[in-house]
Subunit: 266 residues, 3 copies
Amino acid sequence: MDARSLSGILTDVRAKRPLVHHITNYVTVNDCANVTLCIGAAPVMAHAHDEVAEMVAMAGALVLNIGTLDHKQVDSMMAAGHRANDLDVPIILDPVGAGATRLRTETAKLLLHKLHISVLKGNAGEIATLAGAEGKVRGVDSAGVSGDPAEIARGLAEKLGIVVAVSGATDIVTDGKRVIFVDNGHEMMGKLSGTGCMASSISGAFAAASKDHVASTAAALAAFGVAGEKAAKRCEGPASFKIALLDETYRLTADEVSRGIKVRFA
Amino acid sequence: MDARSLSGILTDVRAKRPLVHHITNYVTVNDCANVTLCIGAAPVMAHAHDEVAEMVAMAGALVLNIGTLDHKQVDSMMAAGHRANDLDVPIILDPVGAGATRLRTETAKLLLHKLHISVLKGNAGEIATLAGAEGKVRGVDSAGVSGDPAEIARGLAEKLGIVVAVSGATDIVTDGKRVIFVDNGHEMMGKLSGTGCMASSISGAFAAASKDHVASTAAALAAFGVAGEKAAKRCEGPASFKIALLDETYRLTADEVSRGIKVRFA
Amino acid sequence: MDARSLSGILTDVRAKRPLVHHITNYVTVNDCANVTLCIGAAPVMAHAHDEVAEMVAMAGALVLNIGTLDHKQVDSMMAAGHRANDLDVPIILDPVGAGATRLRTETAKLLLHKLHISVLKGNAGEIATLAGAEGKVRGVDSAGVSGDPAEIARGLAEKLGIVVAVSGATDIVTDGKRVIFVDNGHEMMGKLSGTGCMASSISGAFAAASKDHVASTAAALAAFGVAGEKAAKRCEGPASFKIALLDETYRLTADEVSRGIKVRFA
């Protein structure tokens, strides 16, 4: 795995145009749909218990995001997740707000326990909470971790046998053995709602295009980060940044990712 | 009916400012609200079983969109729809994803069977599915139809005694006798989430302003298409296109529609 | 209280960065999240009955918005509201559509009766309805009031012992004794969906930063209005206006508010 092979995954996403089934929150759902289209995949949002198993069977990836969770949604996530596991459709779990409330923490743990999750992607506080380390989450924001996030993530990935990604100024992606640091992105991405959720959607699209989910997740976060860097050059605040971010995601080429990617292999 | 009479309906929408009651999906609901305002009507979104009959009684049109369906929502759609029928409020049905899952296909059929729908507006795969023809739908996208979409739509419209519209590069509107082809629009409209839903909202606003629903639907799609053509001239990707599309919908004049409209009567 | 002290509250919001817990509608929820971030606070949206009491305990304010109401949501609003009252977390109630349907009117009254609401903020029709005066609401828009909105609001505030705010070309804020008129804002703010909801979110952020809720609400509406005036100078329609409005909210300084604020004390 090197930077060039990572940037090639974008080309595969666009060639394959995978369907990415989301069961997600109603706050950022429109951004998730649009970023999925912009990166070159096809989004579908469906949450009814009756249809999720059928919908996920068409999909290249399933994105579970607990940002506005309730019990009914958990049931649907379980139904979709079991079917996804049966069909080897990779699942991305974004444990939004795990650590802030018991419902979120326990739901994230339940999903991790009952389903085979391919990629768990959260902020440092969420990941630390799920690793049993000391992590604080206020609302949906990380509010501090004691310990090294990379080591916490690596340990959790090793224990669960999955890929764990930690979003932040430097993103961390690890399968318990390999650890990749992604330095792409821009601080503007933290000034608006939804960039974390969008990164999970893109990680879903990339997971549908490459079976190496350390590579696919690192590539997804790097690609989105490169788009963010370009967008930051022509915005006047968080809202115009979001517009530019989506546009740049759409315009992004594998060549630009290849030139702009900043990854370090630990 | 000619191009000039079609473009006059926009003037009527703005004079009447009809309330358009939506029971719709949570992915594109904000776009639907804003495009309804931009075209000159007033949106309201209300889904509680307890209030939909009361709300629709104030409305000039009811838009039912099954993009993020569940059983509870179907009950509310039925309640609102029955009241709409009693009061002669036209109903627009957007059968998002019919053909992709049984729940969506059967719900769309149920609504078509139990309610008097004025306008059924979907993509080629959805309409073919509901016509009993061979149509494929992947997620919420048409994935191919065998047969001529115009003939499939015409047959379905004739059978059900309603207006059927098929969205696509060329939109088709038919009541089973008349068939109108609308060549307005721009390929950018397919690059973002929500343009189909927005077209249904506008079709609702136009249906509230004109009782000839072949004319009102063709006029709605043409007007939105003209706005799309204007928007495409000043965008840098799908997100800036959406902003421009809403702005151009707001700025659109009947005169511009009259000059820009491209309809063919078959 | 004077204009300078009002504009200082923005500085306090940014220093404190309060968490603003929303139980709100799915139409404008993304705008609410983003405007909360732009003004310098932190949004969280959580509606599950199981977690709202826990979430609101972290919050500086609770915003209840009934724009897409159902019974389950009312239960969650009650649970969150009781906990907020126990912990002295101020509650902002936006009674969207009260007067349009019985469910909305009765829910707004229930929340006002069972909870201690700090700030009730609605349009003239909604406030008149809740005051028992003659107010008409069509969908979610005020459709006329007989009587003086300021006097109606003042009487309601006095009777309930709360702060009442009426949005409009001139906003009115009163605690039953003091009445403040806020002349900031721009007519473009009425051309798009969500500005009323966003104003409630900002009022929540300001209520978390100042215990004088007449002052905090007037300051919130004035600050958002100043941002709106700036945004109107560089937009081409409602959608580009919304982008500019969010950007200008983010860029807004206490000094700009101090220079631009237009309040009259009655």
